[in-house]
């Protein structure tokens, strides 16, 4: 499947097969989750990042089924570049109606960055001015967990984390995703 036909598929799934809700409801709900976590964890932002990632992971484990069922994907991606393309053009398109740009491939094709030109989760957001949040909190960290969880269900162990965020004053919002390994859940070798 070529890159353009993936873009078309993402567009089609978004238009015809996705139930939509008000974007501000999503933004505000996500905002309350993060704000509440910051409060409950007493401003321990490293822990907040961790909790967000964990929540995202649990979402990802389930969301992948919805993704596969709605997008009708039946073929495995041939390589990690394909996977990146599908995540951006179909995955993000059908759930958030955005298409992050893929950039900064490593030479071994195992790492890439997703550049978020827009991020519906972070509309209206300004990080608290306590001197710490700007340096420690990755506001949209749940997305990393979602990607990690979803890919794990399709036999890919990845590491995902934000490296830049416009909320922190950077120029772009950038998530770095690196493939750790393909999980081979075939039978053990001595299983005769």
């Amino acid at each position: 499947m070529s890159s353009t036909s993936r873009a078309r598929l993402g567009e089609e799934v978004w238009k015809t097969r996705t139930d939509k809700i008000n974007a501000e409801l999503v933004t505000l709900t996500y905002g309350s989750v993060v704000a509440q976590l910051c409060k409950d964890l007493d401003g321990d932002y490293a822990e907040v990042n961790k909790q967000l990632d964990k929540m995202g992971y649990n979402i990802g484990l389930r969301l992948i089924e919805d993704f596969l069922a709605k997008s009708n994907m039946q073929q495995k991606c041939a390589n990690f570049r394909d996977t990146a393309d599908v995540i951006s053009k179909v995955g993000f398109k059908m759930f958030l109606n955005i298409t992050p740009t893929i950039a900064n491939w490593s030479s071994d094709s195992k790492q890439f960055s997703l550049m978020f030109d827009e991020n519906p989760l972070a509309d209206f957001v300004e990080l608290p001015d306590d001197g710490k949040a700007q340096a420690e909190l990755w506001y949209s960290n749940m997305l990393c967990g979602v990607i990690r969880g979803a890919l794990e269900m399709v036999q890919m162990q990845v590491d995902a984390h934000f490296v830049n965020d416009v909320l922190r004053g950077h120029d772009t919002t950038e998530m770095r995703i690196s493939l750790v390994r393909y999980i081979d859940d075939e039978m053990p070798a001595d299983d005769e």
Partner: protein, 211 residues
């Protein structure tokens, strides 16, 4: 307007499943809106151009030249089974009589056995393409079984009457229902047996009306 309108509208005039039936009304039932009548006409025009497939949902029978004929299919699905990626049975439901009743232990054995057979068939493919999908259809005199394995490893088995067309559509729809009503239920534990009223209700609603 339900997507499977044909079968609803037409089934009123049908006495026996499987027979060809002349559609009574040229433009479809009166209460239809102009839009859906237009859609109907378009569907027929397409049928004329593409080679006269029956326009009833789930039916791929070729049909006589006259585009006003529908072929009515009785959709008889006996049972649906869902296996998790380890081969454990997480869901089993009978919808129509026709299969032997097994004890719950036997169902578990059946699921485990099928899981093993599926693994073997995907390893010893006669073609040399990589990533063979494994066993997909099993036909016997009395039933046909369609297996669909998702990329995450979950297997959906649908048992139906023999010569049932388009079971792959059915099985995909079951997958969609599963992803909606099982996976999105926050209290469902992944890989564990499914006890979800919502899922069962929607599943029967999908499978039963097609009879």
């Amino acid at each position: 307007m339900p997507a499977d309108w044909d079968i609803w509208a037409v089934s009123d005039w049908v006495t026996k499943p499987g027979e060809w039936r002349n559609e009574v009304m040229e433009e479809g039932p009166e209460e239809l809106s102009t839009g859906s009548r237009k859609r109907e006409r378009k569907k027929r025009r397409q049928a004329r151009e593409t080679g006269f497939k029956c326009s009833a949902l789930l039916c791929s029978e070729p049909r006589p030249r006259c585009c006003r004929w529908y072929h009515i299919v009785a959709m008889v699905v006996y049972a649906v089974l869902i296996l998790n990626k380890a081969g454990g049975l997480i869901f089993q439901r009978d919808f129509n009589p026709g299969l032997q009743k097994l004890t719950s232990n036997d169902y578990l054995i059946l699921a485990g056995t099928f899981h093993g057979v599926h693994a073997i068939t995907s390893q010893i493919s006669p073609t040399n393409e990589t990533g063979a999908s494994g066993l997909e259809v099993l036909e016997s005199e009395n039933f046909v079984m369609r297996c669909f394995q998702t990329l995450t490893g979950t297997k959906f088995l649908v048992f139906a009457e023999p010569r049932q067309p388009n079971l792959d559509v059915v099985v995909r729809r079951v997958y969609e229902l599963y992803s909606d009503y099982v996976m999105k239920n926050p209290f469902y534990q992944i890989e564990m047996p499914i006890r979800s009223e919502g899922f069962e209700r929607h599943l029967s609603a999908y499978i039963k009306p097609h009879q």
